[in-house]
């Protein structure tokens, strides 16, 4: 009674929903957090909530995506980030063949996360969802926006993100 999504029975379509949506949910969280491990943790947290929710099956993908974005942004905000060295170990050599590249990549990720954390929440969520492949209609439904204003919100977020990252690149 204290939690909207709380202690009901585990929904019967959980596995099906998980297998369909898990890659998307991890990708949404990873775009925010820049780390595979953290993104998978966020995905688990989101699906655990979903497991006992009464979210209609047809709305599951949208709900899970927006929940992943909010949860990941909350992780940024509350500083529940793992040590950088974990990220380095996590990403391994396949993506970044040498140390200099790894350092550059990590620094970029750090700056992207910081920039996302500074965006207004709605812009950050719209940006991440749109770049995770949700349609304008899906982003609109998830954020309670009109499809017309999704473009405006995403546009503003992209412009702000670029300014933030450029500002920091030039000041460093």
């Amino acid at each position: 009674m204290s939690s909207p999504l709380g202690r009901g029975a585990v929904r019967s379509d959980l596995e099906q929903a998980f297998r369909t949506a898990y890659p998307r949910v991890v990708a949404v969280a990873a775009r925010v957090l820049g780390s595979r491990d953290e993104a998978e943790d966020v995905a688990q947290e989101v699906f655990l909530t979903f497991a006992r929710s009464s979210v209609p099956a047809g709305e599951a993908m949208g709900w899970l995506s927006v929940a992943a974005a909010h949860t990941a942004l909350n992780h940024l905000r509350s500083g529940r980030r793992r040590a950088l060295r974990e990220e380095a170990a996590d990403e391994g050599g396949a993506v970044c063949p040498d140390i200099a590249d790894t350092v550059v990549t990590l620094d970029e990720r750090r700056r992207v996360r910081a920039a996302l954390a500074r965006l207004p929440r709605r812009q950050a969520v719209a940006l991440v969802l749109r770049h995770s492949g949700l349609s304008y209609a899906e982003v609109a439904a998830a954020l309670d926006l009109s499809p017309g204003s999704v473009g405006t919100t995403v546009r503003r977020a992209e412009s702000a993100l670029r300014k933030e990252l450029n500002r920091h690149a030039s000041s460093e």
């Binding site: 204290s2 939690s3 909207p4 959980l14 500083g79 940006l127 017309g148 473009g151």
Partner: protein, 362 residues
């Protein structure tokens, strides 16, 4: 014609079919719009590169992990029932915590007889603050005996405030002004009364204490096999969730937890439990400080996560909880046998303002 908005230009990049024909035609022949479109394209490409993710997760491995976590929750709730669920889940939510804690206070004992005597009824809430590591060490009720759940938590969504009131018999407060950033209409959840009967076991208690490498003090006479009837609810919640796992705002009310017993006084039972050497001393001493009458509901608070302070809501003392990271806050108070909480991903001043502004319809 007017130039299409930046948002329309942005959509033209992704979903040209979603843009009106007239706008598309206009852009083709308009230098200013083409320039705007090019700028939008550059920013979009930049954001795309910054947010790129270069891996695909292992779905089977992820599913296994989730299935284990769900099964773990099931085991815990099966053994304990939701109102007395595991400490970890209790700690996650100060609101949920309310419903679990009566169990610990009631978990001491008195011989059961035909006529149950009320030994605990929450009339106020007092925070018990300790490091998270110590709270996690608090034993489950099942460590002291057997809990038989007679009415499980059963929450369901109802259509509106009137239906929530009808289902629970509790009045539903109206939030006159929503905090900034909280929008839309709430959804309503109700839950019936939850209850269980706890039977104290000296042997189980001894085993629990021994497992911690300690020896329990001798139990008071009549404690072994004594039974307690625990109850809480019904309750209701109005939730502005806006798609988040942590809702933007929740206003919840429930009939406060009660413990019924007969025979041994409440204090005797409580004091025995609090004397067990496996309880963290810091927590035990705070609980001992409660007045003996069995009317104070402890609200366990992890010191690293939350700060607490006192406040006043309509003349009733209330406890304000704020997460240290500023991500959430809650205010909880008990009035007339009903506990009310206002919580959300808000600041302490915002939840207090909602609490003080609630309008109570009939």
């Amino acid at each position: 014609m007017r130039h299409p908005s930046d948002g329309t230009l942005r959509r033209l990049l992704d979903e040209p079919d979603g843009v009106a024909d007239a706008d598309r035609e206009h852009v083709k022949g308009c230098a200013a719009c083409l320039s705007g479109l090019a700028a939008a394209q550059q920013d979009a490409a930049f954001a795309g590169a910054a947010l790129e993710v270069a891996f695909s997760p292992d779905v089977d491995e992820g599913w296994q992990r989730l299935a284990n976590a769900v099964a773990g929750e099931e085991r815990r709730s099966g053994a304990m029932s939701a109102p007395a669920a595991g400490w970890r889940s209790r700690l996650r939510s100060p609101v949920v915590a309310i419903f679990g804690v009566a169990a610990i206070l009631g978990g001491a004992g008195v011989a059961a007889a035909a006529d149950w005597l009320q030994v605990f009824r929450a009339e106020k809430v007092t925070p018990v603050t300790a490091p998270r590591a110590e709270l996690v060490k608090l034993p489950e009720l099942s460590a002291f005996g057997d809990l038989e759940v007679t009415a499980k938590v059963d929450t369901r969504r109802v259509a509106d405030a009137a239906a929530a009131q009808k289902a629970t018999g509790l009045s539903v407060p109206l939030v006159v002004r929503l905090p900034r950033g909280v929008t839309g209409e709430p959804t309503y959840q109700v839950g019936g009364r939850v209850s269980g009967v706890f039977t104290f076991s000296v042997e189980k208690t001894a085993r629990t204490v021994a497992a911690a490498g300690r020896t329990p003090p001798p139990p008071p006479r009549g404690l072994d096999g004594s039974r307690f009837r625990l109850g809480a609810g019904p309750g209701l919640a109005a939730i502005w969730s806006q798609g988040r796992p942590i809702p933007a705002l929740v206003v919840a009310r429930a009939v406060t937890p009660t413990v019924h017993s007969s025979g041994v006084p409440f204090e005797t039972a409580r004091d025995y439990l609090l004397s067990l050497p496996n309880l963290p001393e810091n927590v035990a001493s705070q609980l001992r400080g409660f007045s003996g009458a069995g009317t104070t509901l402890p609200l366990f608070v992890a010191a690293e996560k939350l700060t607490t302070s006192g406040a006043d809501v309509g003349g009733v003392p209330a406890t304000v909880l704020s997460s240290r990271d500023g991500a959430m806050a809650a205010v909880v108070w008990v009035d007339g046998g009903v506990v009310t909480a206002v919580a959300g991903s808000l600041g302490a001043d915002e939840v207090l303002s909602v609490a003080r502004g609630l309008r109570w319809g009939r």
